[in-house]
Amino acid sequence: MNKNLWFSKVHSWRSTNKVTSQWAQSANFSVSRLWTALIGSTLSLSVSASIPEASPKELLETVPAAAQVCLSCHGVNGEGLGVAGPRLAGLSSEYMAQQLSHFQSGKRQNSTMMAMAMTVQGDTIKLVSDFFAAKPVAAISLQYRGDKVVISDIGEKLAFQGDWEREIPACTSCHGPSGIGAGQFPRLAGQEPSYFKNQLLAWQKGTRTGDVDNMMGNIAKKLTAAEIDALTQYFSAQK
């Protein structure tokens, strides 16, 4: 797809409420898939309740118009939909807003997200980011540094102790206990494994940039393939 064409379409459509559905169709995200995602997430939400609190339609009405384009891949509660899209719940508004602008400027390269991010401009960036940041995530049992001293799992060891011979700090020294994240540091705990792995690879390749002094690119470039797999498994399992 011609990049300029995408840009012109996005710019001519933004700020109209119809944008989202038109956009979803043109980007091959069918409405039926959107509904499937909505119903699916509603069902999973209401497992313990006998009567659903809100119908899919009602639920959809609570979503800001600008955020509706996000739902087919990220879920109506930002819970993530497997390989379709990462979990947004648990990420800070600050981080999501920053990433949206990185997709727009090309500091983060992903053809789908670059186009989607273009539909969110100006004040709506914060609106959409706040919406997903407010979505709850289940509490996890947190592991603090030092809770475990002898760690055999490669991923868990890097997470809590790093590898200073290669100047790799513990992941948790910036991403917090169990990688729960805050501010500019995304939550790693419970993230979709395929997404998590792809991000580390993107940092390595330089298709993801935009953080201060290329902190994360610098660290990712030192990681081996086996370490990336181990980190993916470890953090994704924290939920």
């Binding site: 947190l142 603090y144 540094r145 030092g146 809770d147 001293v149 002898v150 055999s152 102790q161 790093g162 200073w164 100047e167 790799i168 700090p169 948790t172 020294s173 910036c174 991403h175 917090g176 206990p177 169990s178 729960i180 994240g181 805050a182 501010g183 500019q184 540091f185 953080d211 201060v212 002094d213 290329n214 902190m215 690119g217 610098n218 660290i219």
Partner: protein, 349 residues
Amino acid sequence: MKLYYFSVAGVLLSMGLSATELPDRQAQLPSVPKDANAQYLTPSALSTIPKGEFGDKVTKGYQLFVNSQQMRNQYVGNELNCVNCHMNAGNKANASPLWAAYMAYPAYRKKNDKVNSYQERIQGCFTYSMNGKAPESGSDVLVALSAYSYWLAMSGLMNQFNLTGDVPVLSDAELLKGGNRPEFPLPEVISAKLDQKALTMLPGRGFPKLDKPEKPYSIERGNSIYLAHCQACHGQDGQGVKMAKVSALPPLWGPQSYNWGAGMHRVNTAANFIYENMPLGKSIQLSVQDAWDVAAYINAQERPQDPRFKGKIEQTKAGFHQHDGYYGKKPQNVLLGEKAYPNFPEASQ
């Protein structure tokens, strides 16, 4: 220099410090020049800490070191963890590694004009860097931190000289003293090669001394450096980032950081540390000038009061602050120390 030293001692005596206090004259943290060919000690992996009573103390020392907040409101009065300044759990050369510190004590310190045991040195960290209350001499906390330091030092030395077997067990009383004493039990293979003086100056000790900056350091330039390279982790307001009730990223000033008596409030000490260890993971190397400038900026902010403060800033300044620092000065039209935060504050929410 000597003249200066005696004059400071005179001020101290006239202030009538009692023997139980741990005064701090802000002697610069010891540092040895960085040598590109230096062979740093490589302590054994944590997985080799032995089972049993001694090993349990070593393990506890490690845990207190990386998660010092478990001593919050008891001995720790701010949101820092020991590991914030001593990288890699106190194991990293040129980040004041515990293994080098352990072999350097007991030692005379200008800081308090007496020979300090290793436990007394750690007590100083609690009083100043951790803005808290020093654990009682001989307490479990000090035994654990000493045991961990000793284990790093001895396993590192044994590895360097290809000695196998367990690190010899020491009694609590011996652990608390430190390794710089004639009766310190050292395998002969090691003592034959390294005399006591060499052991107190292991390569990588302290923070390596940084060259003087080309231009006098500047708070203003430091502010720009801070915004460009530091605020992502430490926050624009220097208050770090809290996650799950702990400061994952440490506050650098304000009520929850080190106090006006900590070594890090000296601009030169902070510059040494920053140049060698920041930004974390070294995605870039700051220039010498940048390190000095940003150290000045960070240390020109208000922080908790010097614990030796007796009500007069001028007196505290004259007694303890004749060095590269901003206590009792007005770097930005504000007299620093005047609005210092209380020591041992409540944890922030």
